[in-house]
Symmetry: C2
Amino acid sequence: MTKTVDGRRARGDVTRALVAREAAMTATVSGLDSITVGGLAAATGVSKSGILTVFGSRENIQVAAVAAARRIFRDAVVAPAWGAMPGGDRLVALLDAWLTYQREEVFTGGCFITATSVEYGHRDGPVAESVRRLKREWLDLLAADLAAAGHPDPQDGAFRIDALLAGASTMRQLFGDDAELDRGHRLAAEVVAERRRPRRKH
Amino acid sequence: MTKTVDGRRARGDVTRALVAREAAMTATVSGLDSITVGGLAAATGVSKSGILTVFGSRENIQVAAVAAARRIFRDAVVAPAWGAMPGGDRLVALLDAWLTYQREEVFTGGCFITATSVEYGHRDGPVAESVRRLKREWLDLLAADLAAAGHPDPQDGAFRIDALLAGASTMRQLFGDDAELDRGHRLAAEVVAERRRPRRKH
């Protein structure tokens, strides 16, 4: 391999990361469907032809946006908690990191998973599959730590924590009040704190 | 007023209702932003000029879509529960009607409030304000009945029920499994069943 090819590849990687990240941000503001090659070119300074050379299609950009969002969420929420012991301690650390991630508006338009789950939930194809995998991965992570923490029902618990956090993100976006984030965080922490004791079942 | 004017007004009302309802359905599938006069004309058989004569602008159509969705939700979820006693009985009836509304796919693309809250949450303007009023009205209704039922924290309870139902709707859209609706319904019913007893606060 020549240095020229290495250089081209490196530039391609930088372009790919820059454009995918911008696409992820756009998706939280106005949806994955609002992503256009022209819009990304204007926002990043990369030419339209340069973007299409790297990605090939708009659909590939959308899939790359989901992958970029996954990395952003991993770095902002999962990584800071990964030093804690699996189980209750790690869940508390995850919730704390989630609160910081929301307060600092890591994504321009609120939670990426919440926004794209609603937008792409009922669709087929590679973009929707990427969104589904992201949601499943997050639920599995919560359920595994709830199980390690001795939660009476890890699957229900993961569903509830996810719903409370998504609800908090939506409410903050709607009403502009950070107290909604604190409420979601507190209610999710109550789910984490539940230990094996009888719960009313219907 | 002449019969001709009455007839024109009546036709205008029918057109308005037909187009607003179609716009509400479209919003649940691909968002309020995906509403176009051309698309609505194709779906309803009303001409583009006829639609613009009645509504004046695309933004007015979006606001009318939210109002139409409010009526659809009122008829499908609130009205069937309104015969029950305010408080716990009415909340149980609301949750049952919500489950039917979801199972019967009253909206083509899942819950209207969930979809539009995420799409328009962070925006300004009359469409976003309509969406905010809809969400607030629903939360107030839940909180009032929780208070009447003696719930220990009606505001938190309303937030939790709303989050669980929105989460269930999103999960069903994502994974195509009606069991997610049953889970959301059951977990929301557990919130309703909570009575005044100490809850862990952080």
